[in-house]
Symmetry: C2
Subunit: 116 residues, 2 copies
DNA sequence: TGTGAACATGAAAACATTTGAATATAATCA
DNA sequence: TGATTATATTCAAATGTTTTCATGTTCACA
Protein backbone atom coordinates (compact mmCIF):
# COMPACT_ATOMS: atom_id res chain seq x y z
CA UNK A 1 0.00 0.00 0.00
CA UNK A 2 1.89 3.01 -1.16
CA UNK A 3 1.88 6.59 -0.07
CA UNK A 4 -0.15 7.89 -3.00
CA UNK A 5 -2.96 5.43 -2.36
CA UNK A 6 -3.05 6.34 1.31
CA UNK A 7 -3.23 9.98 0.36
CA UNK A 8 -6.25 9.29 -1.83
CA UNK A 9 -7.96 7.38 0.92
CA UNK A 10 -7.19 10.08 3.43
CA UNK A 11 -8.76 12.62 1.10
CA UNK A 12 -11.80 10.44 0.85
CA UNK A 13 -12.24 10.27 4.62
CA UNK A 14 -11.60 13.99 4.78
CA UNK A 15 -14.78 14.43 2.77
CA UNK A 16 -16.65 12.93 5.70
CA UNK A 17 -14.87 14.90 8.37
CA UNK A 18 -17.18 17.86 8.62
CA UNK A 19 -20.48 17.89 10.50
CA UNK A 20 -22.35 19.77 7.79
CA UNK A 21 -21.24 17.35 5.11
CA UNK A 22 -22.26 14.37 7.22
CA UNK A 23 -25.60 15.98 7.92
CA UNK A 24 -26.14 16.57 4.22
CA UNK A 25 -25.35 12.96 3.39
CA UNK A 26 -27.66 11.77 6.14
CA UNK A 27 -30.47 13.85 4.71
CA UNK A 28 -29.85 12.34 1.30
CA UNK A 29 -30.59 8.88 2.65
CA UNK A 30 -34.23 9.49 1.82
CA UNK A 31 -33.47 10.46 -1.77
CA UNK A 32 -32.53 13.62 -3.59
CA UNK A 33 -32.97 17.03 -2.02
CA UNK A 34 -32.71 20.53 -3.38
CA UNK A 35 -30.20 23.02 -2.04
CA UNK A 36 -33.08 24.96 -0.61
CA UNK A 37 -34.43 21.96 1.29
CA UNK A 38 -30.98 21.23 2.65
CA UNK A 39 -30.62 24.81 3.77
CA UNK A 40 -33.83 24.54 5.70
CA UNK A 41 -32.97 21.18 7.19
CA UNK A 42 -29.51 22.24 8.27
CA UNK A 43 -30.40 25.74 9.37
CA UNK A 44 -27.24 27.05 7.80
CA UNK A 45 -26.93 29.81 5.30
CA UNK A 46 -26.92 29.45 1.57
CA UNK A 47 -23.26 30.06 0.96
CA UNK A 48 -22.12 27.63 3.60
CA UNK A 49 -24.28 24.83 2.27
CA UNK A 50 -23.32 25.57 -1.27
CA UNK A 51 -19.65 25.40 -0.43
CA UNK A 52 -19.96 22.14 1.43
CA UNK A 53 -21.92 20.77 -1.51
CA UNK A 54 -19.12 21.90 -3.79
CA UNK A 55 -16.70 19.79 -1.75
CA UNK A 56 -18.93 16.76 -1.89
CA UNK A 57 -19.22 17.28 -5.63
CA UNK A 58 -15.49 17.61 -6.10
CA UNK A 59 -15.07 14.33 -4.25
CA UNK A 60 -17.65 12.66 -6.45
CA UNK A 61 -19.76 11.78 -3.45
CA UNK A 62 -22.87 13.40 -4.88
CA UNK A 63 -24.60 13.86 -8.21
CA UNK A 64 -26.68 16.82 -9.28
CA UNK A 65 -29.71 17.29 -11.44
CA UNK A 66 -30.97 20.67 -12.48
CA UNK A 67 -34.61 21.49 -12.97
CA UNK A 68 -35.27 25.09 -13.79
CA UNK A 69 -33.32 27.09 -11.25
CA UNK A 70 -33.45 24.31 -8.71
CA UNK A 71 -30.56 21.89 -8.24
CA UNK A 72 -31.23 18.50 -6.74
CA UNK A 73 -28.47 16.58 -5.01
CA UNK A 74 -28.28 12.83 -4.49
CA UNK A 75 -25.54 10.48 -3.36
CA UNK A 76 -23.48 9.01 -6.13
CA UNK A 77 -22.94 5.65 -4.48
CA UNK A 78 -25.36 4.51 -1.76
CA UNK A 79 -22.56 2.36 -0.37
CA UNK A 80 -21.52 5.53 1.40
CA UNK A 81 -24.42 4.85 3.76
CA UNK A 82 -23.00 1.46 4.53
CA UNK A 83 -19.75 3.17 5.43
CA UNK A 84 -21.52 5.62 7.68
CA UNK A 85 -23.39 2.78 9.32
CA UNK A 86 -20.23 0.87 10.09
CA UNK A 87 -18.79 4.05 11.56
CA UNK A 88 -21.90 4.46 13.65
CA UNK A 89 -21.57 0.92 14.85
CA UNK A 90 -17.96 1.39 15.93
CA UNK A 91 -19.01 4.61 17.49
CA UNK A 92 -21.83 3.03 19.45
CA UNK A 93 -19.61 0.32 20.74
CA UNK A 94 -16.94 2.17 22.57
CA UNK A 95 -14.79 4.55 20.66
CA UNK A 96 -15.92 7.62 22.43
CA UNK A 97 -16.78 7.51 26.01
CA UNK A 98 -20.54 7.59 26.05
CA UNK A 99 -20.24 9.66 29.11
CA UNK A 100 -18.42 12.38 27.20
CA UNK A 101 -21.00 12.42 24.45
CA UNK A 102 -23.91 12.56 26.81
CA UNK A 103 -22.33 15.41 28.68
CA UNK A 104 -21.85 17.38 25.53
CA UNK A 105 -25.39 16.75 24.39
CA UNK A 106 -26.64 17.89 27.76
CA UNK A 107 -24.39 20.92 27.65
CA UNK A 108 -25.61 21.84 24.18
CA UNK A 109 -29.26 21.66 25.15
CA UNK A 110 -28.62 23.58 28.31
CA UNK A 111 -27.02 26.36 26.30
CA UNK A 112 -29.77 26.51 23.73
CA UNK A 113 -32.42 26.74 26.37
CA UNK A 114 -30.79 29.56 28.19
CA UNK A 115 -32.15 33.06 27.78
CA UNK A 116 -29.65 35.56 26.40
CA UNK B 1 -29.51 13.45 14.24
CA UNK B 2 -28.32 16.51 15.98
CA UNK B 3 -25.37 18.76 15.47
CA UNK B 4 -23.36 17.48 18.40
CA UNK B 5 -23.57 13.90 17.20
CA UNK B 6 -22.51 14.92 13.70
CA UNK B 7 -19.59 16.77 15.19
CA UNK B 8 -18.48 13.63 17.01
CA UNK B 9 -18.78 11.58 13.87
CA UNK B 10 -16.89 14.16 11.87
CA UNK B 11 -14.10 14.04 14.43
CA UNK B 12 -14.03 10.30 14.11
CA UNK B 13 -13.63 10.43 10.34
CA UNK B 14 -11.02 13.13 10.79
CA UNK B 15 -8.90 10.56 12.60
CA UNK B 16 -8.79 8.62 9.34
CA UNK B 17 -8.08 11.58 7.13
CA UNK B 18 -4.32 11.51 7.20
CA UNK B 19 -2.16 9.21 5.09
CA UNK B 20 0.25 8.39 7.89
CA UNK B 21 -2.55 7.44 10.26
CA UNK B 22 -4.16 5.22 7.64
CA UNK B 23 -0.82 3.61 6.94
CA UNK B 24 -0.30 2.98 10.65
CA UNK B 25 -3.71 1.36 10.98
CA UNK B 26 -3.06 -0.76 7.91
CA UNK B 27 0.18 -1.98 9.44
CA UNK B 28 -1.67 -2.88 12.61
CA UNK B 29 -3.87 -5.31 10.70
CA UNK B 30 -1.26 -7.95 11.35
CA UNK B 31 -1.23 -7.32 15.10
CA UNK B 32 0.60 -4.99 17.43
CA UNK B 33 3.70 -3.12 16.34
CA UNK B 34 6.23 -1.06 18.24
CA UNK B 35 6.78 2.60 17.47
CA UNK B 36 10.17 1.68 16.14
CA UNK B 37 8.76 -0.87 13.73
CA UNK B 38 6.19 1.64 12.51
CA UNK B 39 8.91 4.21 11.97
CA UNK B 40 10.80 1.77 9.80
CA UNK B 41 7.70 0.68 7.91
CA UNK B 42 6.56 4.21 7.23
CA UNK B 43 9.95 5.74 6.61
CA UNK B 44 8.94 8.79 8.55
CA UNK B 45 10.77 10.40 11.39
CA UNK B 46 10.23 9.68 15.03
CA UNK B 47 8.46 12.86 15.97
CA UNK B 48 5.99 12.60 13.12
CA UNK B 49 5.03 9.03 13.91
CA UNK B 50 4.79 9.74 17.58
CA UNK B 51 2.50 12.67 16.98
CA UNK B 52 0.21 10.75 14.68
CA UNK B 53 0.09 7.96 17.24
CA UNK B 54 -0.86 10.52 19.85
CA UNK B 55 -3.83 11.50 17.72
CA UNK B 56 -4.93 7.92 17.24
CA UNK B 57 -4.62 7.46 20.99
CA UNK B 58 -6.64 10.54 21.76
CA UNK B 59 -9.37 9.23 19.49
CA UNK B 60 -9.31 5.84 21.20
CA UNK B 61 -8.51 4.12 17.96
CA UNK B 62 -5.48 2.38 19.37
CA UNK B 63 -4.34 0.77 22.60
CA UNK B 64 -0.82 0.71 23.93
CA UNK B 65 1.22 -1.76 25.90
CA UNK B 66 4.58 -0.92 27.35
CA UNK B 67 7.39 -3.41 27.68
CA UNK B 68 10.60 -1.95 28.99
CA UNK B 69 11.19 1.17 26.93
CA UNK B 70 9.25 -0.19 24.00
CA UNK B 71 5.63 0.75 23.38
CA UNK B 72 3.46 -1.56 21.34
CA UNK B 73 0.41 -0.25 19.56
CA UNK B 74 -2.64 -2.20 18.49
CA UNK B 75 -6.09 -1.24 17.23
CA UNK B 76 -8.71 -0.87 19.90
CA UNK B 77 -11.59 -2.18 17.80
CA UNK B 78 -10.83 -4.37 14.77
CA UNK B 79 -14.10 -3.21 13.27
CA UNK B 80 -12.08 -0.25 12.09
CA UNK B 81 -10.68 -2.58 9.44
CA UNK B 82 -14.18 -3.33 8.27
CA UNK B 83 -14.70 0.39 7.90
CA UNK B 84 -11.51 0.75 5.91
CA UNK B 85 -12.53 -2.14 3.72
CA UNK B 86 -15.89 -0.64 2.92
CA UNK B 87 -14.11 2.59 2.07
CA UNK B 88 -11.76 0.69 -0.18
CA UNK B 89 -14.70 -0.95 -1.88
CA UNK B 90 -16.41 2.37 -2.59
CA UNK B 91 -13.11 3.64 -3.72
CA UNK B 92 -12.52 0.78 -6.11
CA UNK B 93 -15.92 1.15 -7.61
CA UNK B 94 -15.89 4.66 -8.93
CA UNK B 95 -15.43 7.47 -6.51
CA UNK B 96 -12.17 8.62 -7.85
CA UNK B 97 -11.44 8.40 -11.47
CA UNK B 98 -9.13 5.45 -11.80
CA UNK B 99 -7.45 7.38 -14.49
CA UNK B 100 -6.52 10.13 -12.05
CA UNK B 101 -5.13 7.68 -9.55
CA UNK B 102 -3.10 5.82 -12.12
CA UNK B 103 -1.67 9.05 -13.40
CA UNK B 104 -0.61 10.10 -9.94
CA UNK B 105 0.95 6.76 -9.20
CA UNK B 106 2.84 6.97 -12.49
CA UNK B 107 3.89 10.52 -11.72
CA UNK B 108 5.12 9.57 -8.28
CA UNK B 109 7.22 6.71 -9.56
CA UNK B 110 8.58 8.83 -12.37
CA UNK B 111 9.71 11.42 -9.85
CA UNK B 112 11.31 8.92 -7.55
CA UNK B 113 13.23 7.30 -10.38
CA UNK B 114 14.65 10.51 -11.64
CA UNK B 115 18.25 11.38 -10.87
CA UNK B 116 18.73 14.59 -8.97
C1' DT C 1 -35.96 43.52 -21.37
C1' DG C 2 -35.98 43.73 -16.35
C1' DT C 3 -36.66 41.63 -11.97
C1' DG C 4 -36.51 38.03 -8.63
C1' DA C 5 -35.36 33.35 -7.16
C1' DA C 6 -31.95 29.66 -6.71
C1' DC C 7 -27.54 28.51 -6.64
C1' DA C 8 -22.33 29.15 -7.19
C1' DT C 9 -17.98 31.43 -6.66
C1' DG C 10 -14.21 34.52 -4.81
C1' DA C 11 -11.49 36.63 -1.39
C1' DA C 12 -10.18 37.71 3.28
C1' DA C 13 -10.25 36.67 8.10
C1' DA C 14 -10.39 33.18 11.59
C1' DC C 15 -9.21 28.81 12.84
C1' DA C 16 -7.08 24.06 12.76
C1' DT C 17 -3.61 20.76 11.36
C1' DT C 18 0.94 19.29 10.07
C1' DT C 19 5.86 19.36 10.26
C1' DG C 20 10.44 19.67 12.05
C1' DA C 21 13.67 20.88 15.46
C1' DA C 22 14.57 20.83 20.11
C1' DT C 23 13.79 19.17 24.48
C1' DA C 24 11.79 16.01 27.99
C1' DT C 25 10.84 11.58 30.21
C1' DA C 26 11.41 6.76 31.31
C1' DA C 27 13.61 2.45 31.37
C1' DT C 28 17.75 -0.21 30.96
C1' DC C 29 22.37 -1.30 31.53
C1' DA C 30 27.39 -0.68 32.11
C1' DT D 1 25.34 7.20 38.78
C1' DG D 2 25.87 8.19 33.85
C1' DA D 3 25.07 6.86 29.24
C1' DT D 4 22.00 5.01 25.94
C1' DT D 5 17.75 3.68 23.78
C1' DA D 6 12.82 4.33 22.99
C1' DT D 7 9.16 7.28 23.00
C1' DA D 8 6.59 11.68 24.01
C1' DT D 9 5.91 16.57 24.21
C1' DT D 10 6.46 21.43 23.04
C1' DC D 11 6.77 25.22 20.11
C1' DA D 12 6.82 27.86 15.93
C1' DA D 13 6.49 28.04 10.96
C1' DA D 14 4.04 26.44 7.07
C1' DT D 15 -0.02 24.90 5.21
C1' DG D 16 -4.84 23.78 4.83
C1' DT D 17 -9.87 24.43 6.04
C1' DT D 18 -13.96 26.93 7.30
C1' DT D 19 -16.75 30.94 7.57
C1' DT D 20 -18.57 35.19 6.12
C1' DC D 21 -19.72 38.60 3.03
C1' DA D 22 -20.04 40.31 -1.44
C1' DT D 23 -20.64 39.42 -6.05
C1' DG D 24 -21.78 36.33 -10.22
C1' DT D 25 -24.53 33.31 -13.05
C1' DT D 26 -28.60 31.10 -14.74
C1' DC D 27 -33.24 30.55 -15.36
C1' DA D 28 -38.21 31.85 -15.38
C1' DC D 29 -41.64 34.88 -15.98
C1' DA D 30 -44.10 39.32 -16.07
Amino acid sequence: MNQVVHQFKADFFKMLSHPARLAILDHLRGGEKSVNELQTLLEADQSTISQQLAKLRSGNLVDTRKEGTTVYYSVHDPMIFQLMDVAKEIFNRHLISHQALLEQVAEASRLSEQPI
